[in-house]
Symmetry: C2
Protein backbone atom coordinates (compact mmCIF):
# COMPACT_ATOMS: atom_id res chain seq x y z
CA UNK A 1 0.00 0.00 0.00
CA UNK A 2 1.12 3.52 -0.76
CA UNK A 3 0.06 6.20 1.74
CA UNK A 4 0.80 9.90 1.35
CA UNK A 5 -0.24 12.75 3.58
CA UNK A 6 -0.54 16.05 1.71
CA UNK A 7 -1.10 19.49 3.22
CA UNK A 8 -2.90 22.64 2.06
CA UNK A 9 -1.34 25.49 3.98
CA UNK A 10 -4.09 28.06 3.42
CA UNK A 11 -6.81 25.93 5.04
CA UNK A 12 -4.47 23.67 7.10
CA UNK A 13 -6.22 20.69 5.46
CA UNK A 14 -4.71 17.24 5.12
CA UNK A 15 -5.50 15.29 1.97
CA UNK A 16 -4.64 11.59 1.87
CA UNK A 17 -3.52 9.64 -1.17
CA UNK A 18 -3.90 5.89 -0.69
CA UNK A 19 -3.14 3.35 -3.39
CA UNK A 20 -2.63 -0.28 -4.21
CA UNK A 21 0.83 -0.21 -5.79
CA UNK A 22 0.49 -3.41 -7.80
CA UNK A 23 -3.00 -2.60 -9.05
CA UNK A 24 -1.85 1.00 -9.67
CA UNK A 25 -5.18 2.34 -8.48
CA UNK A 26 -5.63 5.15 -5.98
CA UNK A 27 -8.14 7.09 -3.95
CA UNK A 28 -7.94 10.53 -2.42
CA UNK A 29 -9.62 11.56 0.82
CA UNK A 30 -10.60 15.24 1.19
CA UNK A 31 -8.83 16.74 -1.83
CA UNK A 32 -8.62 20.56 -1.91
CA UNK A 33 -9.55 22.52 -5.03
CA UNK A 34 -6.42 24.69 -5.00
CA UNK A 35 -4.20 21.58 -4.81
CA UNK A 36 -5.76 19.62 -7.67
CA UNK A 37 -2.83 20.26 -10.03
CA UNK A 38 -0.32 19.09 -7.39
CA UNK A 39 -2.32 15.98 -6.61
CA UNK A 40 -2.99 15.16 -10.25
CA UNK A 41 0.69 15.51 -11.12
CA UNK A 42 1.64 13.22 -8.23
CA UNK A 43 -0.86 10.59 -9.40
CA UNK A 44 0.63 10.84 -12.89
CA UNK A 45 4.20 10.51 -11.67
CA UNK A 46 3.31 7.51 -9.52
CA UNK A 47 1.47 6.04 -12.53
CA UNK A 48 -1.72 5.68 -10.52
CA UNK A 49 -5.28 5.76 -11.82
CA UNK A 50 -7.58 7.73 -9.54
CA UNK A 51 -10.66 5.61 -8.85
CA UNK A 52 -12.34 7.46 -5.98
CA UNK A 53 -12.42 10.79 -4.19
CA UNK A 54 -13.86 10.38 -0.70
CA UNK A 55 -15.10 13.18 1.51
CA UNK A 56 -15.22 12.84 5.26
CA UNK A 57 -17.98 15.49 5.25
CA UNK A 58 -19.23 18.65 3.57
CA UNK A 59 -16.47 21.13 4.37
CA UNK A 60 -16.98 24.74 5.39
CA UNK A 61 -13.35 25.88 5.23
CA UNK A 62 -12.26 24.84 1.77
CA UNK A 63 -13.74 23.80 -1.54
CA UNK A 64 -13.32 20.14 -2.42
CA UNK A 65 -11.14 19.18 -5.37
CA UNK A 66 -13.46 16.28 -6.19
CA UNK A 67 -15.47 18.00 -8.94
CA UNK A 68 -12.36 19.04 -10.84
CA UNK A 69 -10.62 15.71 -10.34
CA UNK A 70 -13.74 13.86 -11.48
CA UNK A 71 -13.78 15.93 -14.66
CA UNK A 72 -10.06 15.29 -15.23
CA UNK A 73 -9.89 11.60 -14.39
CA UNK A 74 -13.37 10.10 -14.41
CA UNK A 75 -13.03 9.06 -10.76
CA UNK A 76 -16.10 8.55 -8.60
CA UNK A 77 -17.03 11.02 -5.85
CA UNK A 78 -18.05 9.29 -2.63
CA UNK A 79 -19.56 10.94 0.46
CA UNK A 80 -20.93 9.70 3.80
CA UNK A 81 -24.54 8.52 3.95
CA UNK A 82 -27.04 11.38 4.24
CA UNK A 83 -24.56 14.05 3.14
CA UNK A 84 -26.62 16.84 1.53
CA UNK A 85 -25.08 16.39 -1.91
CA UNK A 86 -27.05 15.36 -4.95
CA UNK A 87 -24.09 15.06 -7.31
CA UNK A 88 -22.20 12.28 -5.52
CA UNK A 89 -21.58 8.96 -7.27
CA UNK A 90 -21.91 6.98 -4.09
CA UNK A 91 -22.70 7.12 -0.39
CA UNK A 92 -21.00 5.09 2.34
CA UNK A 93 -23.04 3.82 5.29
CA UNK A 94 -21.70 3.17 8.77
CA UNK A 95 -19.34 0.17 8.62
CA UNK A 96 -19.62 -0.09 4.84
CA UNK A 97 -16.39 -1.14 3.13
CA UNK A 98 -14.75 0.23 0.01
CA UNK A 99 -11.98 -1.97 -1.34
CA UNK A 100 -9.23 -1.12 -3.81
CA UNK A 101 -6.97 -4.17 -4.12
CA UNK A 102 -5.06 -4.48 -0.87
CA UNK A 103 -6.56 -1.24 0.48
CA UNK A 104 -9.62 -1.77 2.65
CA UNK A 105 -11.46 1.36 3.75
CA UNK A 106 -14.21 1.06 6.36
CA UNK A 107 -16.52 4.02 6.90
CA UNK A 108 -17.29 4.85 10.52
CA UNK A 109 -20.20 7.25 10.95
CA UNK A 110 -18.89 10.00 13.24
CA UNK A 111 -21.40 12.88 13.09
CA UNK A 112 -21.25 15.92 15.34
CA UNK A 113 -19.04 18.39 13.46
CA UNK A 114 -21.71 18.05 10.78
CA UNK A 115 -24.67 15.69 10.86
CA UNK A 116 -23.20 13.49 8.15
CA UNK A 117 -19.55 12.71 8.72
CA UNK A 118 -17.46 9.58 8.29
CA UNK A 119 -14.04 8.60 9.56
CA UNK A 120 -12.24 6.10 7.34
CA UNK A 121 -10.44 3.15 8.86
CA UNK A 122 -7.59 2.04 6.57
CA UNK A 123 -6.63 -1.64 6.74
CA UNK A 124 -7.58 -1.58 10.43
CA UNK A 125 -4.30 0.19 11.20
CA UNK A 126 -4.95 3.90 10.67
CA UNK A 127 -8.04 6.03 10.89
CA UNK A 128 -8.60 9.21 8.91
CA UNK A 129 -10.65 11.15 11.41
CA UNK A 130 -11.71 14.14 9.30
CA UNK A 131 -13.04 16.93 11.51
CA UNK A 132 -14.35 14.64 14.25
CA UNK A 133 -11.02 14.19 16.01
CA UNK A 134 -7.88 16.27 15.63
CA UNK A 135 -4.50 15.70 17.29
CA UNK A 136 -5.16 17.07 20.79
CA UNK A 137 -8.35 18.71 19.53
CA UNK A 138 -11.61 18.20 17.64
CA UNK A 139 -13.75 19.88 15.02
CA UNK A 140 -16.08 22.71 16.01
CA UNK A 141 -19.79 22.06 16.41
CA UNK A 142 -21.31 25.52 16.25
CA UNK A 143 -22.48 25.88 12.66
CA UNK A 144 -23.99 23.95 9.75
CA UNK A 145 -25.50 20.90 11.38
CA UNK A 146 -23.00 20.58 14.22
CA UNK A 147 -23.96 19.15 17.60
CA UNK A 148 -21.51 18.78 20.49
CA UNK A 149 -23.32 15.90 22.22
CA UNK A 150 -23.35 13.94 18.98
CA UNK A 151 -19.63 14.62 18.44
CA UNK A 152 -18.84 13.49 21.98
CA UNK A 153 -20.68 10.21 21.34
CA UNK A 154 -18.94 9.71 17.99
CA UNK A 155 -15.47 10.25 19.38
CA UNK A 156 -15.88 8.33 22.62
CA UNK A 157 -18.00 5.46 21.28
CA UNK A 158 -16.72 5.04 17.71
CA UNK A 159 -13.10 6.28 17.69
CA UNK A 160 -11.84 5.81 21.24
CA UNK A 161 -13.05 2.20 21.10
CA UNK A 162 -10.57 1.39 18.32
CA UNK A 163 -7.33 -0.33 19.42
CA UNK A 164 -4.92 2.08 21.17
CA UNK A 165 -2.23 1.58 18.53
CA UNK A 166 -4.49 2.70 15.67
CA UNK A 167 -2.81 5.68 14.00
CA UNK A 168 -4.84 8.88 13.89
CA UNK A 169 -4.57 10.99 10.73
CA UNK A 170 -6.72 14.11 11.11
CA UNK A 171 -8.47 16.29 8.54
CA UNK A 172 -6.66 19.38 9.78
CA UNK A 173 -3.78 20.36 11.97
CA UNK A 174 -2.83 23.86 13.03
CA UNK A 175 0.33 23.15 15.04
CA UNK A 176 2.51 21.07 12.71
CA UNK A 177 1.51 17.63 13.96
CA UNK A 178 1.05 14.95 11.34
CA UNK A 179 -0.04 11.80 13.15
CA UNK A 180 -1.06 10.51 16.56
CA UNK A 181 -2.67 7.35 17.91
CA UNK A 182 -5.99 6.48 19.53
CA UNK A 183 -4.16 5.64 22.76
CA UNK A 184 -2.49 9.05 22.81
CA UNK A 185 -5.71 10.93 22.11
CA UNK A 186 -7.62 9.01 24.79
CA UNK A 187 -4.92 9.94 27.25
CA UNK A 188 -4.02 13.50 26.23
CA UNK A 189 -6.72 15.13 24.08
CA UNK A 190 -7.64 18.19 26.18
CA UNK A 191 -11.10 18.45 24.67
CA UNK A 192 -12.12 15.06 26.08
CA UNK A 193 -9.85 14.24 29.01
CA UNK A 194 -11.61 15.04 32.27
CA UNK A 195 -14.86 16.13 30.60
CA UNK A 196 -18.07 14.15 30.62
CA UNK A 197 -20.68 14.59 27.88
CA UNK A 198 -22.41 17.53 29.54
CA UNK A 199 -19.15 19.33 30.33
CA UNK A 200 -18.03 18.80 26.73
CA UNK A 201 -21.29 20.28 25.41
CA UNK A 202 -20.94 23.32 27.67
CA UNK A 203 -17.31 23.78 26.67
CA UNK A 204 -18.00 23.48 22.92
CA UNK A 205 -21.00 25.83 23.13
CA UNK A 206 -18.79 28.52 24.64
CA UNK A 207 -15.88 28.52 22.20
CA UNK A 208 -17.25 31.63 20.40
CA UNK A 209 -15.16 31.05 17.27
CA UNK A 210 -15.42 33.29 14.20
CA UNK A 211 -16.93 31.74 11.06
CA UNK A 212 -14.41 30.11 8.69
CA UNK A 213 -13.26 32.62 6.07
CA UNK A 214 -14.54 30.64 3.12
CA UNK A 215 -17.75 29.32 4.69
CA UNK A 216 -20.28 31.21 2.56
CA UNK A 217 -18.44 30.12 -0.56
CA UNK A 218 -17.33 26.62 0.44
CA UNK A 219 -20.54 25.05 1.76
CA UNK A 220 -22.70 25.67 -1.34
CA UNK A 221 -19.80 24.74 -3.64
CA UNK A 222 -19.22 21.48 -1.77
CA UNK A 223 -22.90 20.64 -1.93
CA UNK A 224 -22.30 20.69 -5.68
CA UNK A 225 -19.21 18.46 -5.38
CA UNK A 226 -16.92 21.45 -5.84
CA UNK A 227 -18.32 22.36 -9.24
CA UNK A 228 -18.23 26.13 -8.82
CA UNK B 1 10.41 2.45 16.33
CA UNK B 2 8.39 5.61 16.66
CA UNK B 3 8.71 8.14 13.85
CA UNK B 4 6.99 11.54 13.82
CA UNK B 5 7.22 14.27 11.25
CA UNK B 6 6.58 17.73 12.72
CA UNK B 7 6.20 20.98 10.79
CA UNK B 8 7.05 24.60 11.54
CA UNK B 9 4.80 26.67 9.30
CA UNK B 10 6.73 29.94 9.51
CA UNK B 11 9.95 28.47 8.12
CA UNK B 12 8.37 25.44 6.40
CA UNK B 13 10.83 23.27 8.35
CA UNK B 14 10.32 19.60 9.11
CA UNK B 15 11.56 18.33 12.45
CA UNK B 16 11.75 14.58 13.01
CA UNK B 17 11.15 12.76 16.28
CA UNK B 18 12.57 9.23 16.25
CA UNK B 19 12.47 6.92 19.24
CA UNK B 20 12.96 3.42 20.49
CA UNK B 21 9.60 2.71 22.11
CA UNK B 22 10.76 0.00 24.50
CA UNK B 23 13.87 1.88 25.57
CA UNK B 24 11.76 5.08 25.80
CA UNK B 25 14.63 7.12 24.37
CA UNK B 26 14.34 9.63 21.56
CA UNK B 27 16.24 11.93 19.27
CA UNK B 28 15.14 14.99 17.34
CA UNK B 29 16.52 16.03 13.98
CA UNK B 30 16.47 19.76 13.16
CA UNK B 31 14.29 21.07 16.01
CA UNK B 32 13.05 24.67 15.64
CA UNK B 33 13.36 27.17 18.49
CA UNK B 34 9.74 28.37 18.25
CA UNK B 35 8.47 24.77 18.47
CA UNK B 36 10.46 23.67 21.50
CA UNK B 37 7.44 23.77 23.82
CA UNK B 38 5.38 21.65 21.38
CA UNK B 39 8.19 19.14 20.94
CA UNK B 40 8.98 18.98 24.66
CA UNK B 41 5.34 18.40 25.53
CA UNK B 42 5.10 15.61 22.95
CA UNK B 43 8.21 13.93 24.39
CA UNK B 44 6.65 14.18 27.85
CA UNK B 45 3.32 12.73 26.73
CA UNK B 46 5.02 9.86 24.93
CA UNK B 47 7.15 9.33 28.08
CA UNK B 48 10.35 9.62 26.07
CA UNK B 49 13.74 10.83 27.29
CA UNK B 50 15.44 13.06 24.74
CA UNK B 51 18.99 11.80 24.26
CA UNK B 52 20.15 13.68 21.16
CA UNK B 53 19.35 16.67 18.98
CA UNK B 54 20.89 16.26 15.54
CA UNK B 55 21.36 19.01 13.01
CA UNK B 56 21.63 18.26 9.32
CA UNK B 57 23.56 21.54 8.96
CA UNK B 58 23.88 25.11 10.25
CA UNK B 59 20.56 26.61 9.20
CA UNK B 60 20.07 30.07 7.77
CA UNK B 61 16.27 30.20 7.83
CA UNK B 62 15.43 29.32 11.42
CA UNK B 63 17.10 29.12 14.81
CA UNK B 64 17.67 25.62 16.10
CA UNK B 65 15.80 24.45 19.19
CA UNK B 66 18.82 22.42 20.30
CA UNK B 67 20.22 24.92 22.80
CA UNK B 68 16.93 25.32 24.61
CA UNK B 69 16.17 21.59 24.53
CA UNK B 70 19.66 20.81 25.83
CA UNK B 71 19.08 23.18 28.74
CA UNK B 72 15.67 21.64 29.44
CA UNK B 73 16.52 17.95 29.05
CA UNK B 74 20.30 17.50 29.19
CA UNK B 75 20.29 15.96 25.71
CA UNK B 76 23.42 16.06 23.56
CA UNK B 77 23.68 18.34 20.53
CA UNK B 78 25.21 16.58 17.52
CA UNK B 79 26.25 18.21 14.23
CA UNK B 80 27.98 17.01 11.06
CA UNK B 81 31.76 16.85 10.99
CA UNK B 82 33.39 20.22 10.32
CA UNK B 83 30.25 22.22 11.12
CA UNK B 84 31.43 25.65 12.35
CA UNK B 85 30.03 25.21 15.86
CA UNK B 86 32.18 25.13 18.98
CA UNK B 87 29.37 24.31 21.39
CA UNK B 88 28.33 20.92 19.97
CA UNK B 89 28.59 17.80 22.11
CA UNK B 90 29.51 15.61 19.19
CA UNK B 91 30.29 15.53 15.48
CA UNK B 92 29.28 12.80 13.05
CA UNK B 93 31.62 11.81 10.24
CA UNK B 94 30.58 10.39 6.88
CA UNK B 95 29.16 6.88 7.40
CA UNK B 96 29.41 7.17 11.20
CA UNK B 97 26.57 5.51 13.07
CA UNK B 98 24.55 6.74 16.03
CA UNK B 99 22.46 4.03 17.68
CA UNK B 100 19.55 4.39 20.07
CA UNK B 101 18.20 0.90 20.80
CA UNK B 102 16.50 -0.31 17.64
CA UNK B 103 17.08 3.04 15.89
CA UNK B 104 20.22 3.10 13.74
CA UNK B 105 21.14 6.47 12.25
CA UNK B 106 23.90 6.61 9.64
CA UNK B 107 25.33 10.02 8.72
CA UNK B 108 25.91 10.59 5.02
CA UNK B 109 28.06 13.63 4.26
CA UNK B 110 26.10 15.61 1.69
CA UNK B 111 27.69 19.07 1.45
CA UNK B 112 26.77 21.65 -1.15
CA UNK B 113 23.93 23.62 0.47
CA UNK B 114 26.55 24.36 3.12
CA UNK B 115 30.07 22.91 3.27
CA UNK B 116 29.18 20.73 6.26
CA UNK B 117 25.89 18.91 5.84
CA UNK B 118 24.72 15.40 6.68
CA UNK B 119 21.73 13.39 5.58
CA UNK B 120 20.66 10.78 8.11
CA UNK B 121 19.77 7.27 6.97
CA UNK B 122 17.30 5.71 9.42
CA UNK B 123 17.37 1.93 9.71
CA UNK B 124 18.33 1.80 6.03
CA UNK B 125 14.70 2.50 5.11
CA UNK B 126 14.29 6.27 5.18
CA UNK B 127 16.69 9.13 4.66
CA UNK B 128 16.32 12.57 6.24
CA UNK B 129 17.81 14.67 3.48
CA UNK B 130 17.98 18.06 5.21
CA UNK B 131 18.52 20.84 2.66
CA UNK B 132 20.47 18.67 0.22
CA UNK B 133 17.42 17.11 -1.43
CA UNK B 134 13.82 18.30 -1.26
CA UNK B 135 10.75 16.62 -2.78
CA UNK B 136 11.10 17.69 -6.43
CA UNK B 137 13.66 20.29 -5.42
CA UNK B 138 16.89 20.92 -3.53
CA UNK B 139 18.46 23.43 -1.17
CA UNK B 140 19.95 26.64 -2.54
CA UNK B 141 23.71 26.99 -2.92
CA UNK B 142 24.21 30.73 -3.19
CA UNK B 143 25.16 31.79 0.33
CA UNK B 144 27.08 30.73 3.42
CA UNK B 145 29.42 28.04 2.13
CA UNK B 146 27.14 26.71 -0.62
CA UNK B 147 28.53 25.23 -3.81
CA UNK B 148 26.32 23.85 -6.60
CA UNK B 149 28.85 21.39 -8.01
CA UNK B 150 29.39 19.92 -4.56
CA UNK B 151 25.63 19.61 -4.04
CA UNK B 152 25.25 17.88 -7.41
CA UNK B 153 27.89 15.34 -6.41
CA UNK B 154 26.30 14.78 -2.98
CA UNK B 155 22.83 14.18 -4.38
CA UNK B 156 23.82 12.08 -7.38
CA UNK B 157 26.61 10.08 -5.73
CA UNK B 158 25.43 9.76 -2.11
CA UNK B 159 21.61 9.95 -2.19
CA UNK B 160 20.58 8.74 -5.66
CA UNK B 161 22.74 5.64 -5.10
CA UNK B 162 20.52 4.52 -2.20
CA UNK B 163 17.90 1.86 -3.03
CA UNK B 164 14.96 3.29 -5.00
CA UNK B 165 12.47 2.37 -2.29
CA UNK B 166 14.28 4.42 0.39
CA UNK B 167 11.83 6.98 1.71
CA UNK B 168 12.89 10.62 1.40
CA UNK B 169 11.99 12.93 4.30
CA UNK B 170 13.22 16.46 3.52
CA UNK B 171 14.26 19.33 5.78
CA UNK B 172 11.69 21.63 4.20
CA UNK B 173 8.69 21.50 1.95
CA UNK B 174 6.83 24.45 0.51
CA UNK B 175 4.02 22.66 -1.35
CA UNK B 176 2.45 20.37 1.24
CA UNK B 177 4.40 17.20 0.40
CA UNK B 178 5.53 15.08 3.32
CA UNK B 179 7.47 12.16 1.88
CA UNK B 180 8.85 10.81 -1.38
CA UNK B 181 11.30 8.08 -2.37
CA UNK B 182 14.76 7.97 -3.92
CA UNK B 183 13.29 6.28 -7.00
CA UNK B 184 10.75 9.08 -7.43
CA UNK B 185 13.32 11.84 -7.01
CA UNK B 186 15.74 10.21 -9.47
CA UNK B 187 12.91 10.06 -11.98
CA UNK B 188 11.05 13.33 -11.37
CA UNK B 189 13.18 15.88 -9.49
CA UNK B 190 13.25 18.80 -11.95
CA UNK B 191 16.49 20.19 -10.53
CA UNK B 192 18.41 17.07 -11.54
CA UNK B 193 16.51 15.31 -14.32
CA UNK B 194 18.02 16.18 -17.69
CA UNK B 195 20.83 18.30 -16.21
CA UNK B 196 24.47 17.29 -16.06
CA UNK B 197 26.80 18.75 -13.44
CA UNK B 198 27.67 21.83 -15.46
CA UNK B 199 24.06 22.56 -16.40
CA UNK B 200 23.07 22.18 -12.74
CA UNK B 201 25.78 24.65 -11.66
CA UNK B 202 24.64 27.18 -14.26
CA UNK B 203 21.00 26.75 -13.25
CA UNK B 204 21.68 27.11 -9.51
CA UNK B 205 23.91 30.13 -10.05
CA UNK B 206 21.08 31.91 -11.83
CA UNK B 207 18.24 31.41 -9.36
CA UNK B 208 18.65 34.95 -7.97
CA UNK B 209 16.78 34.21 -4.75
CA UNK B 210 16.37 36.78 -1.97
CA UNK B 211 18.19 36.08 1.30
CA UNK B 212 16.18 34.12 3.89
CA UNK B 213 14.35 36.51 6.20
CA UNK B 214 16.08 35.32 9.35
CA UNK B 215 19.54 34.76 7.90
CA UNK B 216 21.44 37.50 9.75
CA UNK B 217 19.91 36.35 13.01
CA UNK B 218 19.82 32.57 12.43
CA UNK B 219 23.36 31.79 11.26
CA UNK B 220 25.22 33.35 14.23
CA UNK B 221 22.63 31.94 16.67
CA UNK B 222 22.99 28.44 15.19
CA UNK B 223 26.78 28.67 15.41
CA UNK B 224 26.13 29.02 19.15
CA UNK B 225 23.75 25.99 19.15
CA UNK B 226 20.74 28.27 19.29
CA UNK B 227 21.78 29.92 22.54
CA UNK B 228 20.67 33.43 21.70
Amino acid sequence: MLFRQLFDEESSTYTYLIADRSLKQALLVDPVLEQVERDHQLLDELELTLKYCLETHIHADHITGTGKLRAMTGCLGIVPENAPVNCADGFLKHREILQLGDVIIEAIATPGHTDSHAAYLVNQKAVLTGDALFIRGCGRTDFQSGDPGTLYDSVTQQLFTLPDETLVYPGHDYKGNSVSSIGEEKQYNPRFVGRDRLQFITFMNNLNLPDPKKMSEAVPANQKCGNI
